[in-house]
């Protein structure tokens, strides 16, 4: 309604008169002003602002509904390929992370003992000075390598890495070795790509090995899978647990933990010996398939039946059905499948299985192994001097102990042993950004001991997570709805995460924090951007004539697509799918997918399985009140058969003990798990009393997990811990 003075306007006019006294209060906040200029918000400050989710790493497109400077609702952005207009429970609840009553709103400096939770508020200047002074002190006394940096997958990570490389430390811990190292390493070696994307448009046969896609949700992929199932695609789920994914499957096979590899190898055996595969594809695009029949001959379905507990006929039938679907068959790479130290071999076998039915990179194929650089989008970045040369060994053993683990993945869980033994040298400081190693690393006690060896710990987070609780300085980061992050190209479009509201309290973006810190550390040259917007403008520059305002308005820009080459090439040394890997052979590992016997528990022990629930992301969302509202209380799953033997009833408190620790938790007697396994939802059992919602809720599986490292990929074998259970 233009040119009409509404009641609201009238009130504003009245307010303006008052405003003469308190002018500053009536100047619209920066974010609102900018969003208004961009045409995203109306006169009242209401509207939708496109941005990007950060409740997990899937990064859905979000439309944030803003009313008078507050986010009131988040919608999936229909223009974004990862959300397609939908958001999962976590994505929907995202604004409760921002409005968490336990948000850290000012920099905090510890005043009590570590772990006591006594902090005092500090100004940014003071806090940053303290951090810089401590880091410089450590660098001076022990060298830059004495400073450990760790952070979890996020869009600003590039500047975090910038900070640590500029500082000169080789010690970088990420969550990757606790997650997808096996998959990434295996697929990099086989296809030359870290993670092939899945295409469900024509899929007819889906094999999920421990990929609980309906609970470990990736919005668009979860939707696509349900569409495929509704369309009539066959879904076979290998999982020791009857998950929600299994409940939607055509066939659920409660496989013995750690033996998915045997199942896949037997499938390959059937397909190869019965010549059911896509010979044309393998002949043209794969190396080593000729070596496969002899190598695989031993892995018969009958052999696999003994390992997996699944009948040979079933394995044979599934192999034939899978092969019959040819390029419409999909064996999902998962993240780490069985979570045993043979996970790397399992992933290699899955990569091979897909290749021999010819679904990789073929038109209509279900696995897309296209090189990400092929999209032709290369973002700009601020210029910077070369990093100082790294001369010291990495504490996590890459590559001197783990030659094939990519440097940027690392073997995070190994760091602590180096810290505790002081070998090959002693670390003295730990910089943690948006990560909670206290809960995410196996063997929590060991992590806390390693913390104890530190002279200085600083944590950047939006809430007082457990690691922040044990830190010396806590720097409050702006939440993903309050800040810019570097741009992200997805499927030919470049998406932006932009602030939709003002930061709560004094929270600041990671880009700002790292730059401020860099300058105080004398590394200003590595952070040549004025502010977040300037950084993004520099990123945009090579894409063509796009303005930041245009990007902000739509949430993305779509540079003209580069002509796709018809040639199918893989980013491997041979340019083909490497079923036989020369690289592996040279490093002294089996060059073809090979069986590795996983350890098995004693008669009185159970496999301790880990997994996901659809309402939480790892250990980062338990304090979100809305997710807490709709979560299931985390109990220890146990089969009735096993419970009977131990004389346990539902909800009875039990003591679960592993080699490294023990927890007390109520039991959930359910037939949805094998009798030789128990399961505990991870991410609970927070130690930080600064998390009022999460504190006291459930127990942490990190107390129980024993550290087992896959020697090839460096991945943590999270399900290889065996526990005993008794009445508490």
């Amino acid at each position: 309604m233009p040119n009409t003075l509404s009641r609201r306007d009238f009130l504003k006019v009245g307010g303006a008169a008052l405003g003469a006294l308190t002018v500053s209060r009536f100047v619209p906040p920066r974010v609102v002003a900018a969003a208004r200029t961009a045409g995203l918000l109306d006169q009242n400050g209401d509207g939708y602002i496109p941005t990007m989710c950060e409740m997990c790493v899937w990064r859905c497109g979000v439309l944030a509904k803003v009313e008078e400077g507050r986010v009131v609702k988040l919608e999936g952005n229909p223009d974004h390929p990862n959300s397609k207009g939908k958001l999962c429970a976590r994505g929907q609840s995202g604004l409760m992370n921002t409005y968490d009553p336990d948000r850290v709103l000012t920099p905090l400096i510890r005043v009590g003992q570590r772990g006591e939770g006594k902090f005092r508020k500090a100004s940014w200047d003071e806090a940053l000075d303290v951090v810089a002074a401590n880091m410089l002190k450590i660098k001076e006394q022990y060298g830059a390598q004495a400073m450990i940096f760790s952070s979890t997958h996020n869009l600003s990570q590039v500047q975090f890495e910038n900070l640590l490389y500029a500082f000169g430390s080789p010690n970088y811990g990420t969550q990757r070795s606790l997650c997808f190292n096996a998959m990434v390493t295996a697929f990099s070696l086989t296809y030359g790509i870290e993670e092939p994307s899945r295409d469900y448009t024509s899929v007819k046969y889906i094999l999920l090995t421990g990929r609980n896609l309906l609970e470990a949700i990736s919005t668009s992929e979860t939707s696509d899978l349900m569409d495929a199932v509704a369309r009539g695609a066959k879904l076979v789920v290998l999982d020791p647990r009857f998950t929600k994914t299994a409940s939607k499957a055509t066939e659920w096979l409660p496989i013995r933990p750690g033996t998915d590899l045997a199942f896949i190898l037997a499938m390959i055996n059937v397909i190869v010996t019965e010549k059911l595969g896509d010979c044309e594809f393998t002949a043209r695009y794969a190396v080593g398939c000729d070596k496969l029949p002899a190598h695989i001959a031993f892995y018969t379905p009958e052999w696999a039946a003994k390992k997996t507990g699944i009948e040979a006929d079933t394995i044979r039938r599934i192999a034939r059905e899978f092969a019959a679907a040819m390029s419409d068959a999909l064996a999902h790479p998962g993240w780490r499948t069985s979570n045993f130290i043979n996970s790397f071999q399992t992933e290699r076998a899955i990569a091979t299985l897909n290749a021999i039915v010819g679904n990789v990179l073929t038109p209509g194929g279900c696995l897309n192994a296209e090189n990400p650089e092929a999209s032709g989008i290369t973002l700009g970045k601020p210029s910077q001097p070369p990093y100082p040369r790294l001369s010291s060994l990495r504490l996590d053993g890459v590559p001197w102990k783990y030659p094939l683990v990519p440097l940027k993945l690392g073997v995070f869980q190994e760091l602590r042993d180096a810290v505790l033994t002081g070998q090959p040298y002693q670390a003295h400081g730990w910089f943690i950004a948006r990560q909670n190693p206290v809960l995410s690393l196996p063997d929590r006690q060991k992590t806390l001991e390693a913390f104890g060896k530190m002279d200085f710990i600083v944590t950047v987070d939006i809430i007082m997570n457990d690691s922040a609780w044990f830190s010396d300085v806590v720097l409050p980061e702006a939440s993903y709805l309050e800040r810019y992050d570097p741009l992200l190209p997805v499927s030919g479009k470049v998406f932006i995460r932009q602030p939709v509201i003002e930061p709560q309290g004094e929270a600041q973006s990671a880009l700002w924090i790292y730059k401020q810190l860099g300058e105080r550390l004398g590394l200003g040259d590595f952070f040549q951007y004025q502010d977040e917007e300037d950084y993004i403008r520099q990123q945009l520059a090579p894409l063509g004539n796009y303005s930041l305002e245009e990007l902000r308005l739509h949430g993305y820009v779509e540079p003209p697509a580069k002509e796709k080459s018809q040639e199918i090439t893989f980013n491997t040394p041979s340019g083909k799918v490497e079923v036989y890997s020369e690289t592996l052979a040279n490093a002294g590992y089996p060059a073809l997918p090979t069986w590795e016997e996983p350890p098995s528990p004693n008669a009185d022990q159970f496999y301790l399985l880990t997994g996901k629930v659809g309402q939480h992301t790892q250990m980062g969302t338990q304090n979100n009140q809305l997710l807490h509202k709709y979560e299931d209380y985390p109990r220890l799953w146990m089969n009735p058969e096993a419970a009977d033997k131990l004389g346990l009833k539902d909800w009875e408190l039990v003591e679960v003990t592993s080699e490294v620790g023990s927890v007390k938790v109520p039991v959930q007697v359910t037939p949805a798990i094998r009798a030789d396994c128990v399961y505990l939802t991870p991410g609970y059992g927070h130690l930080s009393k600064g998390l009022r919602t999460a504190y006291g809720d459930g127990v942490s599986d990190s107390v129980l997990h024993v550290t087992y490292v896959d020697p090839v990929s460096g991945g943590q074998a999270l399900s290889q811990t065996f526990v005993t259970v008794k009445k508490a």
Binding site: L87, Q92, G614, K629, Y630, A672
Partner: protein
């Protein structure tokens, strides 16, 4: 009237994955307090014996019945069925929060908001529907289980889904004085489901949906004792004055005139 709408939900049970995105979305869209929810996912629990197992999730919310028991008991007229679209809505300004309707709803689809002192329930996100959006739960449903639309419109999502449904059931309650005639249509459920939801096992757990409508003692007593008593009282007093008046008309006015 051809253009009169009848909004309803169609829920494809085979597609619900119990991710609860709908519940969180609903809570935010409608500012539902943290201790309450407007929509539910009924978990059948793991059925069968290892390894032949099944598990079914039944999402539901207010059924927007054709003959809602909640409206029957609402004393202030706050609960009403929108004549234009058939949604059962609550005028919270008119609601006094007595909770008769909470007890009466056979689907337990209502709750009392202690802070506001009023009753709240699913309103079909009418505030979104009016501007052409889908209800929050439907818009974000990952499995594509929840559908919403005009059941009178043959081209709507819901009508099409109903036409293609492999199976269909409703949680209808029919009894002596009651026939809710709900407007949530559950499709593509496993065969056993209709009986499961109302099974005795679930009733024992207090989870039966639907259940018989409950009428509180005060409401029941009010109807059975007080209303007749009041009617009798007023009737009697009217009778007294009427008798007196008639008598006077017949006998004529006495002794007061000069």
């Amino acid at each position: 009237m051809a253009d009169k709408k009848r909004y309803g939900f169609v829920i494809d049970i085979s597609r619900c994955i119990d991710c609860r995105a709908c519940q969180v979305a609903c809570s935010l869209e409608n500012s539902v307090p943290l201790n309450h929810t407007r929509i539910w996912i009924h978990d059948q629990g793991v059925q069968g014996t290892f390894p032949k197992l099944s598990r079914t999730f039944v999402p539901y919310n207010c059924m927007h019945c054709e003959h809602p028991p909640c409206i029957e008991v609402c004393v202030s007229g706050a609960t009403y069925k929108d004549p234009n679209n058939g949604l059962v809505l609550v005028d919270q300004e008119a609601c006094i929060g007595c909770g008769f309707c909470v007890e009466a709803c056979p689907y337990d689809a209502r709750y009392l908001d202690e802070k506001l002192g009023v009753v709240d329930k699913c309103n079909g996100c009418i505030q979104r529907v009016e501007i052409g959006q889908k209800p929050a739960c439907v818009a974000t449903c990952l499995g594509g289980s929840r559908l919403f639309g005009d059941l009178n419109d043959p081209a709507s999502d819901v009508s099409i889904a109903l036409k293609n449904a492999k199976s269909l059931f409703r949680l209808d309650i029919e009894g002596k004085d009651i026939d809710t005639d709900p407007n949530i249509y559950f499709i593509n459920a496993p065969q056993s489901l209709t009986s499961l939801v109302t099974s005795d096992a679930f009733k024992q757990q207090g989870q039966a949906v639907p259940r018989e409508p409950k009428y509180t003692i005060s409401e029941e007593g009010w109807k059975k004792v007080l209303v007749p008593a009041i009617a009798a009282g007023i009737g009697a007093s009217f009778l007294v004055q009427a008798t007196y008046f008639t008598k006077q008309l017949i006998e004529g006015e006495k002794e007061f005139d000069e």
